[in-house]
């Protein structure tokens, strides 16, 4: 078969997945091929190195055993090879009987250790729920569930009804979605389907970076810029749902845009080509082919955006006006669950505090439900695709094509392939139907096409424009404040003039400590999930737990941190309490990026390693992790950027005193809280702008650094 024909065939069949696979392989080829050449060097080098290491431990007996084991490995490579080679990637320590007892024990112990790390996620989710729930019990038993869901929230008079707050949360979220989703979808479609690759690359990088801008900066922008504008327009105070909608819509645009872009990009190129080939315009292709094909991905993106909006605390707190009532109009003050928790937590006690924990439970349940529904949607689609595929397979079994198909499709891309196939089928049917119903349109398709392209362009322009405006606003106002004294000086005087050095140190201190706790746990947990775990119920639970943990609203994590670390463990308001809460927040993020990094390491490398007689742990530690290292580092740096910008988690776990932390038990005030307090005090706005700018620069720097690491590693791999 000629190359051309093959290409045509894959395009026509929509087998984008295998095509993609072959495109990626050349990049990683060098790595894979490394394994076979390795034996001589590695086998010779290893015993010597190990012996040297052991003598330093002065454990001569162990040394002898080790040397013997090493020798053993050398003498019988053939038999061991034959044992291990046919095994798939999920080799288990069970199969290591030929190894010395010590090695087996070590391997087992390591596996259990990794499992323990992985279980942290489940334990954390359960602990968060149970702890918040237990603290919420008094309000439920004393008042009863019915009174807890009353309309009236007046803590001073003993009314703890959360319904008006719940409605406030829903109003704010719904409005933000109505404004933000079309904007984000338009932006994503423009970037993936319409824009030139160069433009798309620059803009999507910008959108990615903006996803890292902390919420307190959006809130700050909201009260300083948007509120007066809206006050002028509506004749009110400018606090209320409308302002919150605008601020939140801007905030969720980057999140939804990036996720939607992923979804659009994963739909096969072939369906677009097929659509164009039938004479469809760009708009028709987008509207009738591309968007329906990536429906599930888009719905997931929107649901996750919704989760972010409903859990958002600081930005909302700063612009809603915090009146716990059903609002008269969209411009009158309201309050939400998250903002009320943040506002009242500092001084509440007794039943009032218990009610706040009750609100935390409600938020937790909402976000867990959203995560659950995302999983259900995805799974429903998978099973549907599976059914369809199996039916087709039966039909096709007789045909000779089947053989070819099986050779083209590697096992690992099976799921993707099925999804693509399913999408393929439905779109094909849809196109046929549309064509059969065709009649002369009122407006020519070219006119519609032109108009819609302009609309998409406008959406992208608006989204990026607004985000750039925020950056510009902070930069222009903040630059005059930046000086050596401001960065390295101490705050002075009544209105916190002078510098912000202690807050910078506090921010970095707590982030560093959090990463020290989180990164090893997350990496080892990811190793367990990718290398050791058998696919099954446990892995399913683990994934659900990490997804839930990732979606826990930051203020709920703050509540939990306060209840457990500050009070029960009596760490007090300290760096340690805040770092532990932050670490839990970052755990799923680092875990996910590490998992992806490890998955990206080709299997050949592992097989090569096993083929040399390496144990599981040797393979993981010396082959898999090092090749995944650049991507893991990228994930960690990104998480650091996010942790630096966190506010709600540290608001009630870290204390707010300006202090230069030395030990983990010291309290301090991070930059985000400093900014929040400066904005609230509203007296020394210059310092607030300066802090905001510095915070943003730091976070952008972390994100750019992460990009640089991953860019460098890809470059190195391709040049090798």
């Amino acid at each position: 078969m000629t190359k051309k024909k093959a290409a045509e065939k894959t395009a026509a069949n929509g087998k984008a997945a295998p095509k993609k696979g072959t495109a990626e392989q050349p990049v990683k080829l060098p790595e894979k091929k490394a394994a076979p050449k390795q034996p001589a060097k590695k086998a010779a080098g290893q015993p010597a190195k190990k012996a040297a290491k052991k003598t330093t431990l002065a454990d001569t007996v162990a040394e002898k055993i080790e040397a013997a084991a090493a020798l053993n490995q050398n003498i019988t490579p053939a038999t061991r090879l034959s044992e291990i080679e046919p095994m798939p990637a999920g080799v288990h320590t069970k199969n290591l009987q030929t190894l010395s007892k010590k090695t087996v024990i070590k391997e087992r112990a390591l596996e259990w250790g990794f499992l323990a790390c992985a279980l942290v996620a489940i334990v954390a989710v359960l602990a968060i729920f149970i702890f918040t729930f237990v603290r919420a019990l008094p309000v439920l038993t004393d008042l009863g569930i019915a009174r807890f869901f009353e309309l009236d929230w007046t803590p001073t008079e003993g009314h703890f009804g959360i319904t008006s707050l719940l409605i406030g949360s829903l109003i704010v979220t719904a409005g933000a979605l109505v404004l933000g989703v079309p904007l984000a979808l338009g932006c994503a479609v423009y970037l993936t389907e319409i824009a030139k690759p160069k433009v798309s690359k620059v803009v999507s990088t910008a959108v990615d970076l903006l996803a890292g801008v902390p919420s307190v900066i959006f809130g700050f922008f909201g009260i300083v810029m948007l509120r007066p504008l809206i006050a002028q327009l509506t004749g009110g105070l400018g606090f209320g749902a409308l302002t919150a909608w605008l601020v939140l819509a801007i905030m969720i645009v980057p999140t939804i845009t990036t996720l939607t872009m992923d979804a659009l990009r994963s739909s096969p190129l072939g369906i677009r080509e097929a659509s164009y080939a039938m004479g469809a315009t760009k708009w028709q292709t987008i509207y009738k082919v591309v968007l329906p094909a990536s429906k599930v991905g888009i719905v997931n993106a929107i649901v996750l955006g919704m989760g972010r909006a409903i859990g958002e605390t600081m930005a909302v707190l700063m612009v809603v006006g915090n009146a716990p009532v059903i609002p008269d109009s969209i411009a009158s003050p309201i309050s939400t669950l998250t903002s009320q928790i943040a506002l009242d937590m500092g001084y509440s006690s007794g039943l009032h505090r218990s009610a706040l924990f009750g609100m935390g439970v409600v938020l937790f349940i909402i976000s867990a439900t959203l995560v659950g529904s995302v999983r259900l949607i995805s799974r429903a689609k998978e099973t549907r695709a599976e059914k369809k595929l199996s039916k087709e397979k039966e039909e096709k079994l007789a045909s000779a094509n089947e053989v070819q198909l099986a050779t083209i499709a590697p096992v690992e891309t099976g799921a993707k392939l099925e999804a693509a196939e399913e999408a393929q089928e439905s779109t094909r049917a849809r196109i046929k139907k549309v064509l059969s119903e065709a009649k002369a349109p009122l407006i020519s398709k070219d006119v519609t096409n032109e108009t819609m392209l302009v609309v998409f362009r406008a959406a992208a322009l608006l989204a990026t424009g607004v985000l750039l405006l925020i950056i510009l606003f902070v930069t222009v106002n903040g630059l005059p404040a930046l000086s050596f004294d401001f960065i390295f000086g101490w705050p002075q005087g009544v209105n916190a003039e002078g510098g912000i050095w202690p807050t910078i140190v506090s921010s970095l201190y707590v982030t560093g400590l959090a990463m020290l706790i989180c990164a090893p746990l997350a990496i080892l947990a990811a190793v367990y999930l990718t290398e050791y775990a058998k696919q099954g119920r446990l892995v399913n639970y683990l994934r659900f737990a990490t997804d839930t943990l990732a979606s826990v609203p930051s203020i709920v994590m703050g509540l939990f941190g306060f209840a457990l670390f500050v009070e029960v463990f009596s760490f007090g308001l300290s760096m340690l309490s805040a770092a532990l809460a932050l670490a839990l927040m970052m755990l799923p993020i680092v875990m996910r990026t590490t998992e992806e990094a490890i998955r990206a390491v080709p299997r050949y490398v592992r097989w090569g390693s096993y083929g040399l007689g390496a144990t599981k742990w040797q393979t993981v530690s010396k082959v898999v992790l090092p090749s995944a290292f650049p991507r893991i580092a990228t994930g960690i740096v990104l998480a650091i950027g996010r942790a630096v910008g966190e506010t709600a988690v540290v608001l009630y776990t870290m204390g707010q005193a300006i202090n230069l932390p030395l030990t983990p038990m010291d309290s301090g005030r991070p930059m985000t809280i400093h900014l929040y307090l400066l904005a609230n005090e509203g007296v020394n706005m210059q310092a607030a702008y300066g802090t905001a700018l510095l915070l943003m620069i730091m976070i952008l720097a972390f994100n750019l650094f992460a990009r640089w690491i991953s860019a460098r590693s890809t470059k190195r791999m391709t040049s090798d």
Binding site: R227, P333, P626, G655, Q656, N680
Partner: protein
Amino acid sequence: MHCRSDAVDTANRHTERGMKAFAQKGFCFCTALFCCLLAASATLFTTASLSGCAPRGAARQITVAGSTTVLPIAEIASEEIQEEEGIHALVSGLGSSAGIEAVMNGTADIATSSRDLTADEEASGLLQKTVIAHDGIAVIVNPDNPVSQLSLDQLRGIFAGQITKWSELGGPDETILVVNRDEASGTREAFKTIVMQGTPFDKRAAILPGTGQVRDVVSRTKNAIGYISLGFVDSEFSKEKVKALDIDGVTPSEESIQDKTYPIARDLFFFTRGAPTGDAAAFVNFVLSDEMDATIREAGYLPLFPFEKEAEEVGLL
């Protein structure tokens, strides 16, 4: 297929070096990983044990928590006492009630408060009260607002939501936009006691968590009304102005607060668990000293008169 095996060979030669580097890197990486875990757990254990046995404040450290109103005074006092006597005071502003709660359960040494104790807190009998300054609460409106005086009853009507139009008070026919403070605020507490006298606040009013924000919003919104400490009515940091209203015919000023004719005035307090001792006592006396008068004025409050100071000062051991 030929060219492919060539490519494989070259790739192999290239990556042989790479693999070795990988193996070394891998070792370092994993060692680093475990060190991290070790370090993390070590910190956890040491700090846990530290928190268990080390007495707080052993290194001449005291914790001052509470009112955001008193925060500026406490912060400056903390800076100066650090320089002069080497006492390290950790100051935070969480709201008066939070501060009192913190002192009651022992997490703070001194509670700064802009309100007196509630009946419940008084009844616990744990807390010792020290007056450190006087403060007047100014009712502020936008400078463009023609209304320039109100009675206490009218003020109550506005904040209870019974009076909703400026026209009822001699102003234009426009809605009154009420700006209230959050419940953690001592200013709100004082305003509630002195002005509201048991009438509940209108819940539809916007609640802002900071003095500066109330001032900023009122200064830029024509129909807004709010209340802040008198000392913040004129701000050196803001170009925008606000207008303080006469209440019951008395203009808020230092004189009218000192001679107690201005009705919405209060005292600022320090609360300690029992009589202050040691470093806490030193801190209280430092704030009461004449040295701090200028700072207290700068923060917008009135220092005590000399005869009052004598009564409040604690005998140092």
